[in-house]
Structure formats: structure tokens, C-alpha cells
């Protein structure tokens, strides 16, 4: 069942990669130089690492029937805190620790609004999404803070054969997979997403679980923010992580996790994040102006949604004839 849900995203990824091969025959070439692995595929993974990391946290949040719009702003705050601390003469390790602690506090705040006060997740996190960039600007005093620190640069731009950013994201993916699939945690998260009240009555600590996933996604966003700012050795409060929340949500949805909560797929999210980054890279290699990437993203979202829809549709509505829906899908897909 889970494999069938991942069929379409996987096919889309293969199609994108093959398209690249047609335009750039050397697309799959990998070479080892100075102990670093180079190649287009490595680039895709490296640039996609922050999105993947946030998407992992987002998967768990969405599985509890929530959403976190504030991750981009949190990423910007993390970069701003770390860079201003280093610029003021602090060490890189304390800078990163400070940034992550602040992110955890922001996550606690979001989780408090959602799980204790009971505000709709989309609105509760909208508050921080709006105010967060203002806070980041406040920290950097509206300037782009540039720094020069070799240790800090490793997070986003360093290599251990593979780029360190990829290794961090994959390690988190492995950790989350172990923690949620080898213990009952994943099932509890899903049960909260399906019905929080019933889960609570069944003895699941719904409130604690919801609170935890918001802290986790904020931490993911914090690390992603460190990657983004470390990659360019600067903190840009306005543009760091701009729209990354949308990319992350998109990755989760492309991966087959429903925004209505419940069952989630970490493999799907990995696929989704890689598809989005491959799409961006493909547009570059084909030679289309990078701004037009958005049109392609829209087309991919629409196609993936439509492909998943006919499977969902008959279950949701009983009366209307399903063939009609399929006909529409084909029409749009052909266009």
C-alpha cells in the first residue's frame, strides 16, 4: 500500500532525472577530488538538505493534523543569532548552541499555542511567521551580517567525502525513522492526527506529543537556518529561508502524506524534497530563466495532486460517477 502511494512521486523523479540526462549527458557523472565527491547529483542533495531537514519535522507536525508556517522565520532567526554572536567575538559552537536553544524556545511557544491554548495550527504559527522575520531583523539591525569563521562554515559548506549538510539531514532522517518506526512513537503520532480526543481517552498523551513535534520542527528549522547562513557565511534576515515553509509542506504532500493528518511517510518526504530540488536544478540546466521555476513547480504540484485525487475521490463521495473525475484528470494532464 505504502509502495503504491510512492509510485507516482518515484516515477516523477525518474522522469526528471532522465530529462536532465537528455540535456546534459554528463549529469550522472561523479568524481572524487581532494577527498570530496563532486557532481550534479551531489549538488542536488546539498542544496536540498535544508528543505529535507525542515520537511522531516514538518512531516511529523502534519501527521498530527497540524502545520507550521513559521519555519522560514525560525531559520532566519537561527542564522541571525549565530552570525551576530560570532560577529561580536563569540565562539562558533556557543553561537550554534545559542541559536538552537532559542529555536527550541520558539518551538515551545508554537506548541503551547496549539496544544494548550488550542488555537488552529495555521494561525498559531502565522503569528511567528509574521513577527519572526521582524525579530530576525531586530537582531541583525536590518543589516546583512557577514562573518568569517572556518568552523561555522563547515555546517553548510564543509565536506566529509559528502557535503556535511547532506550527512546531517540523512542522520536526522535515520534518527526520526528509528525513533518513530522502531518504537510506538510513530503510531502514537498518527493516532493523535486521526483523532486527538479519542487518543487522549485511550491514554495517549496527545498534548505532550503535539507539543514535542512543534519543538522538533523548530529545531530542524534552526539547523536548516544554520546551514543556509553558514553556506554563504552571512545572515540575511529578509531572504534566508524565504518560502522554505512552502517547499517543505510541498515536499511532504508530494510524498503522499495527507494534510488531514494521520498516516505519514518519511520515505515519501525524502522523495518529495529531492523532487523539488531536482526540479529547480533541471530548470537551470535546461536554460530557462530561474524565476520561471515557479511555473514548473505549480505544474508538478497540480499533476501530483491530480494523480492522487482519483484514488481518494471515490472514497470521499459516494454518488458521483468516478469515471468523470478520471476524464478531467486526463484532460488536465494532457494540457
Amino acid at each position: 500500500m505504502s509502495n503504491r502511494r510512492l509510485l507516482w512521486p518515484a516515477l516523477a523523479l525518474v522522469a526528471l532525472l532522465l530529462l536532465n540526462l537528455v540535456f546534459t549527458p554528463s549529469f550522472f557523472a561523479l568524481r572524487l577530488q581532494d577527498g570530496h565527491l563532486f557532481g550534479s547529483l551531489v549538488d542536488i542533495l546539498r542544496n536540498g538538505a535544508p528543505t529535507l531537514l525542515i520537511a522531516l519535522g514538518m512531516t511529523l507536525v502534519i501527521a498530527t493534523r497540524g502545520i507550521d508556517l513559521s519555519v522560514g522565520a525560525v531559520a532566519a532567526i537561527a542564522g541571525a543569532v549565530a552570525c551576530t554572536h560570532i560577529a561580536d567575538g563569540g565562539g562558533p559552537v556557543t553561537a550554534m548552541a545559542l541559536a538552537l536553544v532559542l529555536c527550541a524556545v520558539l518551538g515551545l511557544w508554537n506548541g503551547f499555542l496549539v496544544s494548550v491554548v488550542g488555537i488552529q495550527p495555521i494561525i498559531a504559527t502565522l503569528v511567528l511567521m509574521t513577527a519572526g522575520r521582524g525579530i530576525a531583523m531586530l537582531l541583525t539591525e536590518g543589516q546583512i551580517v557577514t562573518i568569517d569563521d572556518d568552523v561555522y562554515r563547515q555546517v553548510g559548506a564543509g565536506f566529509l567525502v559528502l557535503p556535511i549538510a547532506i550527512l546531517i539531514s540523512l542522520a536526522v532522517l535515520g534518527g526520526v525513522a528509528l525513533a518513530t518506526r522502531r518504537t510506538a512513537l510513530g503510531m502514537l503520532v498518527e493516532s493523535v492526527g486521526v483523532n486527538p480526543e479519542a487518543s487522549r481517552l485511550a491514554g495517549v498523551r496527545a498534548r505532550t506529543i503535539i507539543w514535542t513535534v512543534y519543538v522538533f520542527v523548530a529545531l530542524c528549522a534552526g539547523v536548516a537556518g544554520l546551514m543556509i547562513s553558514s553556506n554563504v557565511s552571512a545572515a540575511d534576515a529578509n531572504n534566508a529561508g524565504l518560502w522554505i515553509e512552502l517547499d517543505a509542506i510541498l515536499a511532504v504532500v508530494i510524498g503522499g502524506t495527507s494534510l488531514a493528518g494521520g498516516r505519514y511517510s518519511l520515505t515519501g518526504t525524502l522523495l518529495g524534497a529531492v523532487i523539488i530540488q531536482t526540479l529547480t536544478t533541471t530548470v537551470y540546466t535546461i536554460g530557462v530563466p530561474p524565476e520561471v521555476t515557479l511555473v514548473f513547480k505549480a505544474v508538478v504540484v497540480i499533476i501530483v495532486c491530480l494523480l492522487q485525487a482519483p484514488r481518494v475521490a471515490p472514497a470521499l463521495r459516494r454518488a458521483p460517477a468516478p469515471p468523470k473525475a478520471e476524464q478531467e484528470v486526463e484532460e488536465v494532464a494532457v494540457r
Binding site: 510541498l250 530563466p289 520561471v292 505549480a298 463521495r317
Partner: protein
């Protein structure tokens, strides 16, 4: 839904009244603090500078009342300015350009509405796709900013209408007409009542035989149309078309609607509230520009705090209503 009107102010009006009080308080604070703040022209400027936001907030109110959300409005505004600028540059007459812009916005809205209703795609995702599409199309037309030089278009944009001491622009007139028409549709037509019914409980609305599907698609068409109209007003304001216009405007609009007392779960809210919500945000911006030393990012923080305050207020009201209902049943 009581047949006999309660003697006190019904609690459903409380959020709108609270918003109005906040507006009066912020404006009062500004008047006390700055000389020349409490002038008619400052009030008129609030409307002139935020005419496009008012129109957007009206469209968004319809969508949110049905329990949906429209993330595409900022991008559709940008696309509208781009189409207007490009069409005028190609020598189209002003009226044809405006028609084309309004038609494009409505068609985009229709597309998103059909995706949401027919294919059961979540509003968040469908309008996100619409947002990407509209922004991307801007850059397909032109990556650069295109200025508007058409004399007729510029005349409409800069013409001011004197009203005693103050003067307003045609944009304000358009925005107020939209608000009046929207209030009429919401409260005095079958369509409007169905909007509230669908937002209250979609299954019940469908079982009652209301045209829930048509209304759900309809509100996105309205929002698309309003976005395109706001895009025209915005191009009057900026006199250029650019793919990076109105970035993040959807957040301002959603914030204004929420501050205006509309519940995001649907079914509760008024367009008038959204208009006052826009005015509150506008006043905050005016105060920050009057202060001079405060940087623009304070606007974002203040809007965030206001959002939080109003959400907390709404929670309180909803809780109290539930308590009251519980008591009356006992």
C-alpha cells in the same frame, strides 16, 4: 440563531466591536503623540494607501467564511500588475487591459475552486499551486519591472476627487463600492447565506439542499476577481508591473481578516470587520512612519502581536459562547 433579538449586543458582534475599539485607540494614541496626526487627510490617506488591501480583504473574507484559505492573492496581484503593464505597453486600450486582467484573475480563481471542490485538493495546497503559477507567469511575461506610461491609465491613477478639506482617489471609491456590494451579497442574497452555512457546517448545508459546491467554487472566483481588481488598484498606486510586487501580501490580508474578527474555522465574520482590520494595520504603519526612528521591521512585530491578541480574544469568546450554550441546555 435565536428568533427574538437579545437585548444586549450579541456576542457575535464583539470581535468587530473590539477591532473598532483597537482602531480608535491606536489612532487616538497617534493623535496624542504626533501633531497633525488627527487630520481628515490622514484618515483619507489610510484609505488611499490601503485601497488594494481592502479589496483583497473582502475577497479573502468570502473564502475564509467558507472555512477555506487563499494563499494566491499576493501572486495574483503581481500577475495583474504585470499583465496590465505588458498589455498597455503593447498598445491595448485601457478598458480592454482592465477587462483582460479581471478575466485572468477570475479564471485563475475558478481553476483553484474547481481543484478544491471537484478533486478534493486541500485549499492550502491548491492555492499554493495557484500562487506558484501566478508568480511564475509574471516572470514568463518579463523578468524586469515594466513601467506604465499609458496616459488614460495614468490619468485615472493620479486624478484626485476633492471632498471638502480632504481628497481621495478613484481607488478609494472602487474599494468602498466593493465593500458595499460584498456586504449586500453576504447578508441579503441566497449566495451569501449559503456562504455562512457552508462555513458553519458543510455537510449540514449540503443535506439542507443548499448549493454548497457552487458556493465553494464561487468564493474562489470572487477572491480571484478581487485579487485582480486589487492588482489594478495596486498598479494605479505603483504605476508599474513587476513579478516581485506584493510579496507576502497574502499574510497581511489574512492578518487583517483575522484581526477583523473573522474566525478561520469559517462561518463567523463580517466584511466590515475586515475593512477595520485593514485600517488598524494601516494606522500601525502610519504611526511607525510618523515616529521616524522606528524601523520598518517593527511593523511586522506589531502585526504579529495584534494577531496574537485577537486570536486570544476569539478563543475567549468562543469558550464563553460554548459555556452559555451548555448552561441553557441544562
Amino acid at each position: 440563531m435565536t428568533v427574538i433579538a437579545p437585548p444586549r449586543v450579541p456576542s457575535r458582534f464583539l470581535p468587530v466591536i473590539a477591532t473598532f475599539v483597537v482602531f480608535v485607540l491606536t489612532f487616538g494614541a497617534g493623535s496624542v503623540r504626533y501633531e497633525g496626526f488627527a487630520s481628515g487627510q490622514i484618515v483619507a490617506n489610510l484609505f488611499i494607501d490601503n485601497a488594494f488591501l481592502i479589496v483583497l480583504a473582502v475577497g479573502m473574507t468570502f473564502v475564509i467564511l467558507t472555512g477555506g484559505i487563499d494563499l494566491s492573492v499576493g501572486a495574483v496581484v503581481a500577475l495583474s500588475t504585470m499583465i496590465a503593464a505588458a498589455a498597455l505597453r503593447a498598445g491595448w486600450p485601457a478598458w480592454l487591459t482592465m477587462l483582460a486582467v479581471l478575466a485572468t484573475g477570475s479564471v485563475l480563481g475558478l481553476g483553484m475552486g474547481l481543484m478544491i471542490h471537484k478533486l478534493r485538493v486541500q485549499p492550502f495546497i491548491a492555492t499554493l499551486a495557484g500562487m506558484f503559477l501566478a508568480r511564475g507567469l509574471c516572470f514568463v511575461i518579463s523578468v524586469e519591472s515594466v513601467s506604465i506610461k499609458d496616459p488614460a491609465f495614468r490619468a485615472i491613477a493620479t486624478e484626485s476627487i476633492p471632498l471638502g478639506d480632504v481628497s481621495i482617489t478613484y481607488s478609494v471609491v472602487v474599494a468602498l463600492l466593493v465593500v458595499a456590494f460584498a456586504a449586500y451579497v453576504l447578508h441579503l442574497t441566497r449566495f451569501g447565506r449559503t456562504v455562512y452555512a457552508v462555513g458553519g457546517n458543510e455537510s449540514s448545508a449540503t443535506l439542507m439542499g443548499l448549493a454548497a459546491g457552487r458556493v465553494k467554487v464561487g468564493v474562489y472566483v470572487i477572491s480571484g476577481f478581487c485579487s485582480a481588481l486589487a492588482g489594478l488598484l495596486f498598479s494605479f498606486y505603483m504605476l508599474s508591473g513587476y513579478g516581485l510586487h506584493a510579496v507576502g501580501m497574502e499574510l497581511d490580508v489574512i492578518a487583517a481578516v483575522v484581526v477583523g474578527g473573522t474566525l478561520l474555522s469559517g462561518g463567523v465574520g463580517y466584511v466590515v470587520g475586515s475593512v477595520v482590520g485593514v485600517l488598524v494595520l494601516g494606522t500601525v504603519q502610519t504611526i511607525i512612519s510618523f515616529e521616524g526612528t522606528l524601523s520598518s521591521w517593527w511593523t511586522k512585530i506589531v502585526i504579529g502581536v495584534l494577531l496574537l491578541a485577537f486570536i486570544a480574544l476569539q478563543r475567549l469568546i468562543v469558550h464563553r459562547q460554548r459555556d452559555l450554550q451548555g448552561l441553557s441546555r441544562d
